[in-house]
Subunit: 239 residues, 2 copies
């Protein structure tokens, strides 16, 4: 199956939303997101299903659906189940004003990748889309997982709460500095080397590097060969 690889032009998104104003806003948000491409905007379950069918038949299946749950002709999660049963591979971000927690659970079992409460800010959607892109990337890149860790990492990308605000103890300028240093170093760097290059201590550099790893923007691998504890080599990972 596989819902396409996002194509050269980015990840294709269908917006399904009852309210025309919200629908336009969501579509706009998606368009603004680099790497994403709004391919359609519909206002009902029926239209959504037809749109997805047509897209699939045309050989350009929709990668991601931004799905409002309360629609005039049915419930979004029911549509979701129908899609699965019909073999559609599109991923779904549920968008709803329903604050019912049982709904969250149903959404998870229906296979939504994210659950976003309305009203939401552009920043909130941005965060979710970015996470989704990384999730997709982490699963698309390698064909085989080397271990449970890799699987967990992918799940974490979908399910870790927003990190737009940095964890305590980290500052944005330093993060930028460390990140750019790492990005420049094609071959990868040790914490000590990164620190030296960024003008901070090894300890501080490590803190930020670990953060980058946690958020999926960097990877690390041990460097064997010489005697002594292996050196950890951090490497910039796309995005």
């Amino acid at each position: 199956m596989t819902a396409g690889e996002g194509g050269r032009d980015g990840i294709s998104v269908l917006v399904v939303e009852d309210d025309p104003v919200a629908a336009a806003a969501h579509t706009l948000y998606v368009e603004r997101e680099p790497g994403f491409r709004a391919v359609g905007t519909v206002h009902s379950c029926g239209d959504a299903l037809r749109f997805l069918e047509r897209a699939r038949a045309a050989g350009a299946p929709v990668d991601l659906t931004l799905l409002d749950l309360y629609l005039p002709d049915g419930h979004g999660l029911q549509l979701c189940r129908t899609l699965r049963a019909a073999g559609h591979g599109t991923d779904v971000i549920a968008v709803t004003s329903a604050r019912d927690l049982a709904m969250v659970r149903q959404a998870v079992s229906a296979g939504v990748v994210q659950y976003l409460l309305k009203p939401f800010s552009a920043a909130a959607l941005h965060d979710r889309l970015e996470r989704y892109a990384r999730y997709r990337d982490s699963l698309g890149r390698t064909g085989e997982a080397t271990g449970q860790d890799e699987v967990d990492q992918a799940f974490a990308l979908l399910r870790t709460p927003e990190r737009s605000s940095l964890p305590k103890g980290l500052s944005a300028p330093t993060l930028d500095s460390v990140a750019s240093v790492l990005r420049e170093a094609a071959t990868g760097l040790s914490a000590a080397a990164a620190g030296a290059a960024a003008g901070v201590s090894r300890i501080t550099a490590r803190r930020y590097l670990e953060h980058l790893v946690d958020t999926g923007r960097a990877m690390r691998e041990p460097q064997y060969g010489s005697v002594g504890r292996p050196e950890l080599c951090y490497r910039w990972k796309g995005r």
Copy 2:
């Protein structure tokens, strides 16, 4: 809907697993877990579906299904989709030796709450079950979410920062590396060969190989024939 609240006796679990030995083991693990209750063990998609139907009809729907993906009469994820379409609310933890990352993605869209790679330790399953219990708790307690935070919190419970604690002196990346090298080598490897392939010394390789043997994931046997002390040949044990 709501798949029951786990009842007074805990969360009811159905184990679906082809291999009788593994099935028994998983069932035992579940039984040992406080707050969980293994209510059945079946070995095929068909039996699983029938079991779930019967349980639902009896007014005691199964809360959680431990689902192997490769089953004699079909694929676990297909069963999963069938269940959703039929309105079953049971949550699913996928259990599989498939290391294909595309499968992970399909599993997410089919609505699994966790994805566990075989072979796994009792501790790993324990961790997943405990997380699931908390997830369920967080969604069951309050009827209404106060905000996005609460939803995110629930999603986060399904992610796994848990590092399965290795014995002192061993590191997760190295273990992954050695394990995957061994898995690839169908014919078996000596410690020296494994080390060379994984980029570590024979000594280090041996450490991890021994660990794999200890935890039952590998076996070793002496290789006779030539002059000198016999070479130990390590072999991955698919289980």
